[in-house]
Amino acid sequence: MFKRSIQQIRNFHSVYHADVPILDSSKLEVKLLSKAYTDHVPKLGFNEKSVYEAAKDLKLNPNNLNGLFQFTTPSKNLSMELVLYHLRANRAKLVGYRTEANNLANESDRIRFLLKKRLLDNSPVVSHLGKALGLMVMPSNLGCSLDELHKLSDDISFYSGDRSNDFAWYSKRFSLSGVFVQSELFMLNDKSDGFEHTIEFMNDRVDEVDKLAYAYNSFEEWAIFNAHSTVNLIKSQIARG
């Protein structure tokens, strides 16, 4: 019973509760992965080598360390844990951009700002991002990576002030995830200065989502108005006898 309640930590934001910490840096795995991610991944990529180098730096024996990652972690795979660390660490950074984002006028601008920050945080490892994405979509890892993707779009929505509590909650997050994945794929081949093409691409996608939302809301309003009118028309015809 107790165990279940620990596992079922809510997967949405609540203004009434403290945020669930994204990374616990007191843990050995996190220390090792963070060392590997910051010092070695930009050169060596998302693979075992980076973790082995980090283990050497931390005076640990790399020859017996796989067991630390391959049994009890969610993905049960060393390279995938490194990729998940990349996702979590960059998601954790978003908290720091919140105050800056709060100065922006509307929700759409804040979303654009946070997406831009998140995409640019990919830049140190962008040359290895293709392989990382390949790992993420492997069937055995897909569950973990989709979970992280949902958490990312949930965080961005929440930080940008989303208060929706109807079906829009889902559609906003789905479309945000879509925008982020498309932009990240675009980024893989982006050679422009400071990834300005990627940012432009991302802004275009957000524009599309905004337009679609406007179109949907307008259609909804029109449909509801006409439904009401029809009902009233029928009522009045019946009342006339």
Partner: protein, 303 residues
């Protein structure tokens, strides 16, 4: 006929359930740390569902394994339908130990309760075939000379026959007086720790012999969490396994003990906490369930 049989086995199962329930309620008391920690003030321990004086358990376990040593492998295959090989393979491949080609230090493995050497040969093979490691050494420790003799016999047909890289030691896993402190990189124990008289002492010793950064890996039967599956598993293990033991090895009592000792072993969470208590750092949730929790792999790291 079959109805009568079913009734009979159902009845038996119920009887066993009751005895299991009793023992469960007993265990909630006895799992308090004192029993597992030193047992100085508690003079009895479990031997299957029986309660026996502590000093006797070692001899009783010795008796069980001496009598099953010769057809241990056949019986394992029959009872687990060959799945124990997959579990062991999974453990070895995921541990992925071995001296990497660009590394300086060879590894020192210790396989405890590894009488027949499945894990020991598997680990050495993995290191040799995947990383070209021909330097790491293996110590196989077992309390039972008959099981150890079985392993030495099997060693002759492996590439490690008469090699200085592997040595067999008759050792009590709770004490390990011939193994110095901080001397091993990898401690493995597969299907052995539940036979220890004092499990916590065994874990404390594991912590003592490992070097800082060393890894502790334990493959052991555990509890099936899904109640429906657990019912099937209990029915299978309590009704069929002792019968198979009788038919194949002509030794019902030993296999009855094996089944009962599996049931008596602490569940995943409790055992993970015992590993923590011995001083290990336990990564993640601490264990991985295999086949719905019939077996589980527990990991600990000495920091």
């Amino acid at each position: 006929m079959s109805a009568a049989l079913r009734f009979k086995s159902g009845f038996k199962l119920n009887a066993l359930r009751t005895s299991f329930n009793c023992s469960l309620s007993k265990r909630t008391i006895s799992t308090t740390p004192t029993l597992f920690q030193e047992g100085a003030n508690s003079k009895t321990t479990h031997f299957g569902f029986k309660t026996v004086p502590e000093q006797e358990k070692e001899n009783l376990v010795r008796g069980v394994f001496s009598s099953v040593a010769s057809n241990y492998d056949v019986m394992n295959d029959v009872m687990s339908m060959g799945i124990h090989r997959l579990w062991k393979k999974h453990l070895i491949e995921k541990l992925d130990c071995g001296k990497r080609p660009n590394s300086q230090e060879p590894l020192n493995f210790l396989d405890v309760a590894g009488g027949t050497g499945d894990i020991a040969f598997g680990l050495l093979d993995h290191a040799r075939l995947k990383y070209g490691d021909v330097e790491s050494t293996m110590t196989v420790a077992d309390i039972n000379p008959d099981m150890l003799a079985e392993g030495e016999k099997r060693c002759l047909s492996t590439p490690y026959a008469h090699s200085p890289r592997i040595n067999f030691l008759e050792q009590n896993g709770e004490i390990m007086d011939k193994i110095p402190d901080n001397s091993k990189d990898v401690y493995t124990i597969a299907f052995g720790i539940r036979n220890f008289t004092n499990i916590q002492a065994g874990l404390n010793t594991a912590y003592r012999v490992l070097k800082p950064g060393g890894i502790f890996a334990c493959l052991e039967f555990s509890q099936v969490e899904e109640p429906a599956l657990d019912y099937i598993y209990q029915a299978y293990s309590f009704s069929l396994l002792p019968m198979m033991g009788q038919l194949i090895a002509n030794d019902r009592d030993s296999y009855q003990y094996l089944v009962e000792s599996i049931r008596k072993f602490p569940n995943q969470e409790t055992f993970a906490n015992m590993i923590r208590k011995a001083g290990f750092y336990v990564p993640g949730k601490g264990y991985e369930n295999l086949t719905f929790g019939v077996a589980a792999i527990h990991i600990g790291v000495k920091l």
